[in-house]
């Protein structure tokens, strides 16, 4: 149970944890997690050494996430990239896949490290420092904080959800929808661009074949063919960038929305449980005047803490979301600008080339 909001690692004025992930080769091989605590400037006492370097597999990240969810049920845990990838569809050993996954896992850890509560979680500590994550032993010895709160499945019906949480739910639904739409549009653009690229390549080859027929026009035609080829390359880069950087981040936010919705559901559940217990207790009180059971009070505390944590996390999530999307969209704009700049440069150099030849011819004519 957490009370108040202790400052996160990153914002406490101490040097933040910098996680650098280096993959070995194949995606199934463990990733290397380097934890740099900034030497003796750090005052995070739970870390003995200034620097750690450990190997972790996807399974380990998954373990961490589950542990965090269990031990901090009132908080929003950032999502992991998709666990299961269809074997036929995606090459799990390709460079692009590994890199994309690595970036997502890096983000996951950074978000936790940034979180004022989660960053103090002992499971995170173990994850970052232990040579061997002996998951079977369950690290129960290290668990000092956070009695495991049993998640009561279903069962209780919620009376009245406070308006602000309703609003959150509605926002998430609409936001999710828009994310889906944007994803579809981005994919459609990629498809159209790929088809355009195919035609453009053929276009370039026709100019090349024309070259062989001509004398005077040889240079201009070669130049045009060259420019078209350059534009093809630039377009290819754009497509690659979009599918590697843009789409994964978009999809990760869909998962993030799912996580958030889960937390909202859990909150609803804990409120429902409290209401049910309260009702039962009131009835019993009316019957035999027994005092309010402790569990009911504990439930009430739980709900209030949950609400507070959730609100705090929501604000943080909104703020991060704003930053992330600002970055994502400006990144998209940059890539497009970059693409056009490359093309423009190619065509401009062609004109310079052709105009130089023109003045060259003129001077040789008048001589």
């Amino acid at each position: 149970m957490s009370v108040g909001t202790p400052r996160g690692l990153a914002s406490s004025g101490q040097k933040p944890i910098a996680e650098i992930l280096h993959p070995l080769s194949a995606a199934e091989e463990p990733l290397s997690v380097t934890v740099n605590l900034g030497g003796d400037k750090t005052t995070r006492v739970e870390f003995d050494l200034p620097e750690y370097c450990v190997w972790r597999r996807y399974q380990d990240f998954d373990w961490l996430r589950t542990k965090l969810e269990d031990s901090q049920p009132t908080h929003l845990i950032p999502p992991l990239p998709e666990k299961f990838v269809m074997k036929g569809v995606v090459d799990r050993f390709s460079e692009e896949f590994v890199e994309t996954r690595m970036k997502a896992l890096d983000k996951f850890l950074k978000r936790i490290a940034d979180h004022p509560v989660l960053s103090f979680n002992p499971h995170l500590n173990a994850f970052l420092t232990a040579k061997d994550l002996n998951k079977r032993q369950g690290l129960a010895l290290l668990t000092k904080v956070g009695e495991s709160v049993k998640y009561v499945a279903g069962g209780y019906k919620l009376r009245a959800r406070p308006a602000e949480f309703c609003a959150m739910g509605e926002y998430l639904d609409t936001f999710n929808q828009k994310l889906g739409t944007i994803d579809r549009i981005a994919q459609r653009i990629l498809k159209e661009q790929s088809e355009y690229l195919t035609e453009l390549r053929e276009y370039g080859t026709v100019y090349s074949s024309w070259v062989g027929l001509e004398d005077e026009l040889r240079r201009p035609l070669e130049g045009v063919a060259g420019c078209v080829t350059t534009c093809c390359g630039a377009l290819e880069d754009l497509g690659e960038n979009m599918s590697q950087d843009f789409l994964p981040v978009l999809r990760e936010y869909v998962l993030y929305v799912e996580s958030m919705k889960n937390v909202l559901r859990k909150r609803d559940q804990s409120q429902a449980e409290y209401e049910a217990r309260l009702e039962a207790a009131i009835l019993r009180k009316q019957e035999d005047r027994s005092p309010m059971p402790v569990e009911v009070e504990k439930c009430q505390d739980k709900v209030e803490c949950f609400n507070a944590d959730l609100k705090a996390d929501w604000e943080r999530w909104q703020s991060n979301k704003r930053q992330d999307f600002k970055q994502l969209l400006t990144g998209m704009a940059d890539k497009n600008i970059n693409h056009y700049e490359k093309c423009q440069a190619a065509w401009e150099s062609l004109i310079t080339l052709l105009q130089d030849k023109q003045t060259e011819d003129k001077t040789s004519e008048t001589n």
Binding site: Y171, T174, F175, K178, T181, I182, I185, R188, I189, E192, Q193, E195, Y196, E199, L200, E202, Y203, V206, Y207, S209, W210, L213, E214, E216, L217, P220, L221, G223, V224, C227, R322, F325, K326, L329, T330, A333, D334, N336, I337, H339, Y340, E341, C343, Q344, W347, E348, L350, I351, L354, Q355, Q358, T359, K362, E365
Partner: protein
């Protein structure tokens, strides 16, 4: 329209910056033709100014809608400062009259590469939009093409002096009769025959053979280029238009956001602008396609000249062969030996020798025939020689023109591409600014 500086003798206007628009580049092309300074162009300035729809009864008495084009002729003297430009002489012509003029020129000047007309029906069209002959964009491009045709003829050293061409520009009513009076229709049939006939030439001028080969290859490659360009245009259209969907979704999304809302909304507007910009971009590219098409059609004219050479050469060879044959016959007759099979020889063998008188009269007829043949041979030789000379002069002129024009076309294409890139950078920079404000 920029007028040629009457004082300078310089050739092509050099493009010194890339901010020149492709329209200005095209004007440079027209100026090049004007500067070539034929007598005709020194006298008058020619424009195809407008196009109008008309309805009327055609030859089978059916109502039809057609387009007429306004030809304007102005005197070429520069207007004094503050003076009003002279009112032009004008007349209306429809496409079929242009066709008639061109056919006349084709038949009358077989050794000249006659400039082509803009296409009759829209081909190589992207998005299947402007395929209709009455579509205003098509009509506009045709107007430009017809003006181009007239300027090409007017700037040609030989064609510009033609009387019928002059009447085409000046006599609205009486022109058709004048053309028909030239009797060129008779030559049309034989011309068509010669173009489609199959015959083997023994000694064609190698330059013409090479030229015909080049012309065929050029035709192939330009057709290919135009075809692929259409596909490229269609795809590019798709890419731009899909971005418009971002506009809508950003707008919807901005409705549920607080601080991010404004930035998203404005960015969405820029995405709409981006999607809309492709229409103008592709419309401008049609100019480039038209320039390529002109040279595609030019290859037909080149081929035509080559074929004419082959025909004349072939006729020459036939005449020469015929003469050789007759001379051999004469020799046989004179010496009495039969070296070549002839029916006369056979019959005389079968039915007895002919009399001395008969032989002498035949000999005399042959002599006559041989003399005539030698005259014909001389004429044919001269005709062939002259054709080769005059045709090759025009071919050299054409080659230079082609190199210059296509080079300009490629430059203007590059300028178009640069303009498209600049527009793209502008829009995405604007969008980026909006994203930054999110």
């Amino acid at each position: 329209m920029m007028m040629a500086d009457s004082g300078s003798n310089e050739e092509v206007a050099v493009i010194v910056n890339t901010d020149i628009t492709s329209t200005e580049s095209e004007n440079n092309l027209i100026n090049t033709m004007v500067e070539r300074g034929t007598a005709l162009l020194r006298k008058m300035e020619i424009n195809v100014a407008e196009a109008e729809k008309r309805t009327g009864k055609n030859t089978v008495n059916m109502q039809e809608t057609y387009t007429v084009y306004l030809i304007e002729i102005r005197p070429a003297e520069t207007v004094p400062e503050g003076g009003t430009p002279a009112t032009p002489d004008t007349l209306w012509r429809r496409y079929s009259e242009f066709e008639l003029l061109r056919t006349y020129l084709l038949v009358t000047y077989p050794y000249i590469i006659i400039p082509p007309l803009p296409e009759k029906r829209a081909e190589f069209v992207w998005h299947k939009l402007a395929a209709d002959n009455l579509d205003p964009d098509f009509v506009e491009r045709r107007r430009v093409g017809l003006e181009n045709f007239l300027l090409r003829v007017a700037s040609h050293p030989v064609l510009s002096n033609d009387k019928i061409f002059f009447l085409f520009l000046t006599e609205e009513k009486g022109w058709r009769e004048a053309v028909l009076e030239t009797g060129f229709q008779d030559k049309v049939d034989s011309r068509l025959k010669s173009l489609s006939a199959m015959f083997r030439v023994k000694n064609p001028d190698k330059r013409f053979t090479a030229l015909k080969h080049y012309s065929d290859e050029l035709n192939t490659v330009i057709s290919q280029l135009l075809r692929v360009r259409v596909k490229v245009a269609d795809r590019l259209y798709g890419v731009y238009k899909v971005h418009g969907n971002y506009g809508r979704v950003f707008s919807e999304w901005s409705a549920i956001e607080k601080e991010m809302g404004d930035g998203l909304q404005s960015a969405g507007h820029h995405m709409d602008t981006y999607a809309a910009s492709i229409d103008d971009i592709l419309e401008e590219e049609e100019h480039y396609a038209d320039q390529l098409k002109e040279y595609l059609f030019y290859t037909d004219a080149v081929r035509s000249v080559c074929r004419k050479h082959e025909l004349i050469q072939y006729e020459l060879e036939i005449v020469a062969q015929d003469l050789v044959h007759k001379k051999q016959q004469k020799e046989e007759l004179a010496t009495g030996t039969v070296r070549i099979f002839s029916l006369k020889g056979m019959t005389s063998k079968l039915f007895g020798q002919e009399s001395q008188e008969q032989r002498e009269s035949r000999l005399a007829a042959l002599e006559q025939s041989i003399q005539e043949g030698e005259e014909t041979l001389k004429e044919k030789n001269t005709e062939c020689h002259e054709f080769v000379q005059t045709a090759w002069e025009d071919i050299e002129r054409f080659k230079e023109q082609k190199d210059k024009d296509l080079r300009e076309a490629l430059i203007s294409y590059a300028i178009m591409q640069i303009s498209m890139c600049k527009k793209g950078i502008q829009v995405w920079s604007n969008a980026k600014e909006c994203f930054n404000k999110m």
